[in-house]
Every structure is written in C-alpha cells, then in structure tokens.
C-alpha cells in the first residue's frame, strides 16, 4: 500500500470521512466475531457442565479466544472503535439464542426483552 493510501486509511480509522460503503466489508469479520464468541461461550459452558471433558473444552475455549482477538483487530481496521465496541454487544443475542437452541436452556421473558433491546440497538448502529 502506498504511503498516501495508508495515511488515508488511518484517517478513516480515526473517524474522519468514515462513510457507509465500508459497512459491507465489515459483515464478514463481524459475523465471524459473533460466531466465534458464541462458540467460545458454548465451549466454556460445556467445560462447566461436563467435568470429565473440562480440559478439552477449556483448551478449545482459550484457542477460540485467541482467534477472536485476531478477528476483533481485523474489525478495528474497518470500523471506528466507538462503532465496533457496541456492535460486539450483539454477542449476547447470539449467546442467548445458542444457549436456547443448542443447550436447551430456557431464556426468561426478561431476557427476551433485553434481546429485543440489543436487536434495536444493533440495527440503529449498523444502519447509521
């Protein structure tokens, strides 16, 4: 990348001139971020509920955490921190859904109200 392009990109990162077209580029890293984080929470939950497999699930969870760190940095190259940080809050939605469907855990009515709040917030931030 030429120096001017790098400077332009850094300016974009700093928030100046950041515009909507970049949103499409963020779909993949954001989806991966949420997916990996959800998978990580599932593994930690399994580590807790299956004592005889605890080491395996915990090791997998730590491995996923490292992958998540890389994905988060990828996301930060595309979105300002002030936008990326609240968007990652959507992981609570995916974790709630995953625990409901995969782990057969019941999510309370209050929990679902919170999930609606997260969806509205996510839509507002993503469609800014």
């Amino acid at each position: 990348m030429k120096r001017d392009a790098v400077i332009a990109h850094v300016h974009t990162l700093m928030g100046a001139g950041f515009c909507k077209p970049m949103l499409t580029q963020t779909v993949l890293p954001l989806t991966l971020c949420l997916g990996v984080e959800t998978a990580q929470q599932i593994t930690f939950s399994l580590a807790g509920s299956r004592p005889h497999q605890r080491v395996c699930w915990t090791a997998l969870g730590i491995g996923l955490h490292l992958i998540l760190l890389g994905l988060w940095c990828w996301l930060l190259t595309l979105l300002p921190l002030g936008v990326a940080a609240p968007l990652t809050g959507a992981s609570y939605l995916t974790i709630a859904l995953a625990s409901h469907f995969l782990l057969k855990e019941r999510v309370s009515r209050r929990g679902w109200i919170g999930v609606v709040g997260i969806v509205i917030g996510f839509a507002l931030i993503a469609g800014r």
Binding site: V6, H9, V10, L13, M14, G15, A16, F18, E37, Q40, Q41, F44, S45, A47, G48, S49, G61, L68, G70, W72, C73, L76, T77, P80, L81, G82, V83, A85, P86, T88, G89, A90, S91, Y92, I95, A96, K104, E105, R106, V107, S108, R109, R110, G111, I113, G114, V115, V116, G117, I118, V119, I120, G121, F122, A123, L124, I125, A126, G127, R128
Partner: protein, 156 residues
C-alpha cells in the same frame, strides 16, 4: 432473604469501576495497536505483535479476570453484570476523546439500546433473582458453573 444474601446484594463499586476502566483501557490499547500496526510497512499481524500497546493490553487480561472473579465473590452476577455493561458507552466516549472519532446521534441512541439490552439480559442471569433464567431440569449444572460461563462472557 437471609443476612448473607442481603450482603451479597451490596455493590462493590470500587471493583466495578476498576473492571470498567480495565475494559475501556484494553479496547483503547487494542485500537492503538491496530492503528500503529497499519502505519508500519510489515504485514498487519507482524506489525501488531511489534506494538507495545498490544502486549500491555494482553497483560491486562488476567488482571481483568481477577477483578471480575473478585466482584462475583462479593455480589450476585445479576447485579454485577448489568452494571458492567456501562463499559460500552464509556468506550465510545473514550474513543471520541482519545481517537477523535465522530459518532452520529443514531450510533449513540443505538448504543443506549444495546447497553440497556445487555443489562437486562445480564440481570436475568441468576436463578436467585429471577427463577426463569436458567432451566431447573438440568441440575448437573451448578450456579457456580453459570458464573464461570458468564464471567468469561464479560472478558472479551
């Protein structure tokens, strides 16, 4: 409600403030590392590993985990969790102050919804407050395990 329970409903504000500060600081350090890495002429990953900000952020991780387990030892998850979601708007304020990010009104409103949503989901996290949160038909999963799971959820 027994005395021990009422004691656990007291909020350890000092630890919570430390947790939120650490959370915001780690996000800022990661952002600084990413910006620094993009300014180098090596590959992104290699540039990242050469950033001191990156390693400081990594080093704060275990400390943050220690603070969070300290909070959970002193109060209930359903109280600690909603309060810790304040880290989202504070990260945005910090990003605005430190990196001069311009965030639209819509993003702030969205973040408010997100914060409240996460707080509500978090407040439903323990059976001691709202019995519907976790299924009773899985007795093999103790509340301690729930805490362990939830604590790692906050450690991103």
């Amino acid at each position: 409600m027994n005395p021990q329970r009422s004691d656990r409903r007291r909020i350890p504000l000092d630890l919570l403030m430390m947790l939120v500060a650490l959370d915001v600081a780690m996000r800022l350090l990661e952002k600084a590392a990413v910006v620094g890495s993009l300014q180098t002429h090596t590959t992104f990953a290699l540039g990242l590993l050469r950033q001191p900000w990156w390693w400081i952020g990594i080093a704060l991780g275990p400390f943050q985990l220690w603070v969070w387990t300290g909070i959970l030892a002193r109060t209930e998850l359903s109280i600690a969790y909603p309060l810790s979601s304040i880290a989202y708007p504070l990260t945005m304020v910090a990003a605005w102050l430190v990196f001069h990010e311009h965030l639209s009104g819509q993003v702030w409103v969205g973040a408010a919804f997100m914060t409240v949503g996460v707080a509500i989901v978090g407040s439903a996290a323990r059976p001691s407050v709202r019995p519907l949160a976790w299924s009773d038909d899985r007795p093999e999963i103790s509340s301690t395990n729930r805490e362990a799971t939830q604590s790692s959820a906050g450690m991103r």
